[in-house]
Symmetry: C2
Subunit: 242 residues, 2 copies
């Protein structure tokens, strides 16, 4: 589902890195984080955090699924509790998710999606205007990653539910079929994916359970506004700085 910059122009893009960056961003904003700033490298994360100041900034992220040395938080959504993140600016760098976000610079509007917020995301997209929606699966080290495709399918399913009808490209049709085959036991399906197996081996098995939940109550819809990710507020599209 990779598209060129020209194709993404004026599209609504949904970035999906369900294990775990976009699930973590949703968890962080739900827990009251002020904003999430995605950055590409560890060095840049440290620079941005220094500029913002240690009273407000938390360094967050992983390399090879494990918390970066010296960082406050890793990439497990369950670490992002109100006690830790409320009111904070989170500087986040991850292996795949923040790279996918960087690829969206030409898009009209960029949301973060996962199972957690599929229905509310669909509501946000369909509530504004009818247009082309591209779901950008972060993948794993540039490879096709089944976990993200399942979540993309959940989002396609939610969009069809809200929009009534839509033209699906083959990738969206495939994602929808795959989601439907796995929906009854999404935790099991994620555990059978290559990325899921890696996370279980590293001791993050409970994150799969957390991330596999469809439509949790009051899940925010993260939207990229300039360099920052904040909860989307309906009616604010014209104000989004792209």
């Amino acid at each position: 589902m990779v598209q060129s910059d020209a194709e993404l122009r004026h599209h609504t893009v949904v970035v999906v890195d369900v294990l775990r960056a976009t699930s973590t961003i949703i968890a962080a904003l739900a827990a009251g984080a002020r904003e999430v700033i995605p950055v590409d490298t560890v060095e840049n994360a440290v620079k941005v955090a220094q500029r913002i100041g240690s009273d407000r900034a938390l360094l967050c992220g992983e390399r090879n699924s494990v918390r970066i040395e010296g960082f406050h938080l890793g990439n497990s959504p369950q670490e992002y509790t109100p006690e830790v993140v409320a009111g904070k600016t989170l500087i986040l760098t991850t292996t795949n998710g923040t790279m996918a976000l960087a690829r969206t610079h030409a898009a009209g509007r960029v949301f973060c999606g996962s199972f957690l917020n599929a229905a509310r995301l669909a509501e946000a997209i369909v509530g504004t205007s009818s247009e082309t929606v591209t779901i950008l699966c972060a993948g794993t080290h540039g490879r096709f990653s089944l976990d993200d495709v399942y979540a993309a399918g959940a989002i396609v399913s939610a969009l069809l539910g809200k929009a009534g009808e839509a033209t699906l490209l083959d990738g969206a049709t495939a994602a929808l079929h795959l989601f439907r085959t796995a929906a009854d036991d999404m935790r099991g399906a994620l555990a059978a994916s290559a990325h899921g197996r890696t996370l279980i081996d590293l001791g993050f098995g409970s994150d799969l359970e957390y991330c596999a939940r469809l439509d949790v109550e009051d899940a925010p819809v993260p939207v990229l506004d300039g360099s920052q990710i904040r909860p989307y507020i309906p009616g604010t599209d014209a104000l989004l700085q792209r």
Copy 2:
């Protein structure tokens, strides 16, 4: 499922362009064609045909699904009857399939696969040695194409049946799931794919029916031997010129 050259080295690669290049190659060899020479451009096809001589060579192929002007045959497998192709050398150039074949130059062994020969292909692969198998879906103009993924799933299914067990990467797992959701009505599933719809619009609907048939009797297993594609004969691996 795109892999780098280095990753393909020593792999068995199965090229799949089910609508229609690999189905056509299988049909051509089943009808007694001596060999198929895949080439990249119309100009090169004409040059190769001139070198071979008009008594033996037939120019075959399509651009945008339609027979190339001045060529003997298009890319519809149903044109490739014994009356037309028996004993001939077919010079074939297609939009997606021959490009995918060109990407395999680093591979250890290259077969052509489709629904027509899934079981016999699996037999050929498993009968020789246990190794890594990469299924290369040709796609459509560089895009994900659901028709090829269904056929890849049929091949994964056949390989699992022969090999007993195997480690599947996420792409192979996805293809297998998708094949299983569509297997009861593969003609209908192909007709719902983007490429299938295009072929129907161009009047090639009956090709979908032809190509959707799983395991037709005595379907050959085309193998790339140097620059030529010929039916694979078990036990000849050491002789294949790569």
